[in-house]
């Protein structure tokens, strides 16, 4: 397995392997998403409290989970790129940032559209939405810093430091916001994530979560390949690839 990981660190190998993997990821992801959507939108019964509006959960929760997962991947690959100077890791970190930001945006928008029927307003400074908003700012900071620095390798190293600082801060921010929110919570606490979520809702949710994860990997590989191509444009394997492409 170490040889595999070692090989993946090589840009040309990564490029080719990722290229072969992407269609597989695409098909499986599509299947999972369709299955999850069918289970969530058609099969699952309406919630006794929220009626059918809860069905937004099937895209809201996976988006929120992914927004955090991608940040961790971004910080981890950033660290690997920083410590061991592995170019593929740098490319993965750079490619992850916009995808993570999109997931965060999705979590916010779907949360907001869910909030309107649930709380009567489009925006509520509840703990999770507020933390997600701050997470979006963290992502935009990474994206902003990366684009502000001309040299890509320096940009990767700087954003790696920033992502790691952000990573340390995410639990702190989350806890602080949660604590702050308990002081200001209204009388009605709608806890949808209550201990017992019905299986007919849980299963589609998990299927969607898996679908989202594969989707991320697929998009990540697509973006990383282009990033690697750009970075290695002077090298022989890129020349050969571009000529025969």
């Amino acid at each position: 397995m170490w040889t595999f990981i070692h090989k993946m660190g090589s840009p040309p190998y990564f490029y080719r392997f990722a290229g072969r993997l992407i269609p597989w990821l695409g098909w499986i992801c599509a299947g999972l998403l369709l299955a999850g959507l069918y289970g969530g939108l058609v099969l699952a019964p309406p919630d006794y409290q929220q009626g059918d509006s809860y069905r937004i959960i099937f895209i809201h929760v996976p988006s929120a989970w992914m927004s955090l997962f991608v940040y961790v991947v971004m910080a981890a690959s950033g660290a690997i790129g920083l410590i061991w100077r592995i170019k593929v890791a740098e490319a993965v970190a750079a490619a992850s940032a916009p995808v993570g930001a999109w997931f965060t945006f999705l979590a916010l928008v779907t949360g907001s559209l869910w909030g309107k029927p649930m709380w009567g307003t489009y925006w509520v400074w509840d703990a999770r939405l507020t933390s997600e908003l701050i997470l979006l700012f963290l992502y935009l900071g990474v994206i902003g810093l990366y684009s502000a620095i001309e040299d890509r390798r320096t940009a990767s190293r700087a954003t790696a430091v920033l992502s790691l600082v952000g990573l340390v801060n995410i639990p702190i921010i989350h806890y602080s916001v949660q604590w702050w929110n308990t002081l200001h919570q209204g009388a009605t606490i709608t806890k949808f994530g209550a201990p017992s979520i019905h299986l007919s809702m849980l299963v589609p949710l998990l299927i969607m979560a898996m679908g989202f994860k594969l989707y991320y990997f697929m998009v990540l590989l697509m973006r990383s390949r282009t990033e690697v191509l750009e970075r290695e444009r002077g090298s022989a394997w890129v020349r050969e690839l571009v000529e025969t492409g």
Partner: protein, 56 residues
């Protein structure tokens, strides 16, 4: 659930379906945009190579 109920979503249709529409749009953008960018990059690099220069 019949077709009508499906679209109506117990009165919440607007919220549910706009959420899903936005979600779908974002998913599509995030697949199409990298694909276009990849093709553009390859073309640009090929052009630079054909001009004999080291791609800048």
């Amino acid at each position: 659930m019949n077709m009508e109920e499906f679209f109506y979503m117990g009165g919440y249709g607007v919220y549910v379906w706009s959420s899903y529409a936005i979600w779908l749009a974002v998913m599509i953008i995030n697949v199409v945009q990298p694909a276009i960018k990849a093709r553009g990059t390859i073309k640009r690099l090929a052009r630079a190579l054909n001009q004999g220069a080291t791609p800048r």
